[in-house]
């Protein structure tokens, strides 16, 4: 059955999109989770909806307007965060609500807008991915992976200890904006596959899954990317079994199932490790971290 599927162009496109999203989202997500900004993707996703609607309203490609608006939103979020005011929390919430409400309204008044279209962006519509979409997604994916490869070392220091990054002479403001913009690009990549409301799930769940099993940052990122691809391709395959299964939701549920499994396996792995270390000597005490 899979062989037949692979010959269909529609499925090929969907598979490429799923692979790229599965790779990119957890790679960026690892930095974001490390920075304790797990909900950043959700925020950008809300704002991106306004971008999509603007595309329909103006008759341009929604993916393109989504890139512009979500990058602007991400920059705004980062600027509010960097000011570190307590009111920043509320400012972010306002931005998110404005994003969704603006998107719904603009979509309703735009000529090509319909509830079905709105739904396809909110919850994903991998089957409707066009070759043009794939080119945009692929270009953005290259940009995202490029950022991770070129700036990874600096981003690790930044996300782990911002003060240390400053005292090492790193361009902290630039790097902070870079990670926010990269997250925005990732949201747009994932938008067609899992939908704006579930985008963040692919940035966070694979990371949460792999940290149950890993001890280091690099290892966490690498295995999160593997889990991301497994979930996104798995969800796509599940949706081919029955037309009733929405791929976006299937991807997220498979990722969550993986997390629960890793939680159980991780318990055993960790227990085994602490036994091993307690035999080495009494000074090698390992606190159980859950």
């Amino acid at each position: 059955m899979i062989v037949e599927l692979l010959q269909e162009q529609l499925f090929q496109l969907a598979l490429v999109a799923a692979l790229l999203v599965g790779l990119c989202a957890p790679a960026v997500g690892t930095f974001i989770v490390q920075r304790r900004l797990s909900l950043l993707g959700d925020g950008i996703g809300h704002v991106a909806l306004t971008g999509v609607a603007l595309g329909f309203l103006t008759g341009t490609t929604p993916v393109l307007t989504a890139v512009i608006v979500s990058v602007a939103g991400a920059v705004a979020i980062e600027l509010v965060r960097a000011r570190g005011r307590t009111s920043g929390d509320v400012a972010l919430a306002l931005l998110f609500y404005g994003g969704i409400a603006g998107g719904v309204l603009l979509m309703a008044v735009s000529p090509g807008g319909s509830n079905a279209k709105l739904n396809s962006y909110l919850f994903g519509a991998i089957a409707s991915v066009t070759p043009a979409d794939i080119w945009v997604i692929a270009a953005l994916a290259v940009a995202v992976i490029g950022v991770v490869l070129v700036f990874g070392r600096e981003l690790f220091v930044l996300c782990q200890d911002e003060e240390m990054a400053r005292a090492s002479g790193l361009p902290v403001r630039f790097l902070s904006l870079l990670i926010a913009v990269t997250a925005a690009l990732t949201v747009v990549i994932a938008m067609r596959v899992v939908g704006l409301l579930l985008v963040s799930a692919l940035m966070v769940i694979p990371v949460a899954t792999s940290q149950q099993l890993t001890r280091g940052f690099r290892a966490t990122m690498a295995s999160a990317m593997v889990f991301g691809v497994l979930a996104s391709v798995g969800g796509l395959l599940a949706s081919t079994v029955s037309a009733k299964v929405p791929p976006g939701a299937a991807i997220v549920l498979i990722a969550l199932a993986g997390f629960v499994l890793a939680l159980v396996v991780g318990r055993f792995v960790r227990r085994g490790r602490s036994d091993e270390e307690s035999r080495v000597g009494p000074t090698m005490r390992v606190e159980e971290v859950v």
């Binding site: 690892t30 989770v33 490390q34 920075r35 304790r36 797990s38 070129v150 700036f151 070392r153 600096e154 690790f156 220091v157 996300c159 782990q160 200890d161 911002e162 003060e163 240390m164 990054a165 400053r166 005292a167 090492s168 002479g169 790193l170 990371v207 940290q211 890993t214 001890r215 280091g216 940052f217 690099r218 966490t220 990122m221 090698m284 005490r285 390992v286 606190e287 971290v289």
Partner: protein, 259 residues
Amino acid sequence: MSETAFAMTGGRVAYDGRPVLRGIDLTVRPGEVVALLGANGSGKSTLVRALLGLTPLSGGSTLIYGRPPARFSDWWRIGYVPQRLQVGGGVPATVREVVASGRIARQRRLRRTSPADRAAVAAALEAVRLTGRAGDPVQSLSGGQQQRVLIARALAGEPDTYVMDEPTAGVDADTQRLLADTLAELVLGGKTVVLVAHELGPLEPVVTRGVVIRDGLVAHDGRPPRPEGDCARPGHEHQHPHAAEPVAGPLTGWQGEPL
């Protein structure tokens, strides 16, 4: 290029209009081991942060190797040990990964980790005796061990000047002694050290100069003041009736209390 590590003149810092540093003059020359001493809230931690440019000055000026912090570029010359580990990140990081991040100021973008990087990280891990824990997540270490990770991170960068904020606070006796030994070795290597301390403890023999900060001003600058009388007794708990403290005096003890 100036070889003076830090030169602050008339340094002032205010948080929300409340003055914390009220005109500090401090010059740190190469090879010095300067201890910034003072009671809690005296402004000593703010001072190190201001020296590094992490906290902006509201008045006066400060130079790192002859340049204002904003225009300073040789950050590899500075090794900073913050007061506590901020690996608050939601993602685990191994001890080796954190220590290796101390090399960042020496590394170029797109350049792979070099053998020199690896050797420096291995030496730093060895110096704080954490080689055996290199592959463990930092989050699984005790407080004292995490402090050692931070010191190793600074050592890995092989800087000329170390800036340590309360490296002995809340740390076990073993780690304190280890830190004293490490400092002694750094001094032999001609390194400069600025450290913030509430009490010197085992670090005392290594310190060449004590600067006591009180109410945002330098209250004493010279030989490290030695505890006298009851304060020198081992195991003595410092409890001073602060209500009876005089407003200012030229001679003050090592914690800022009148002699």
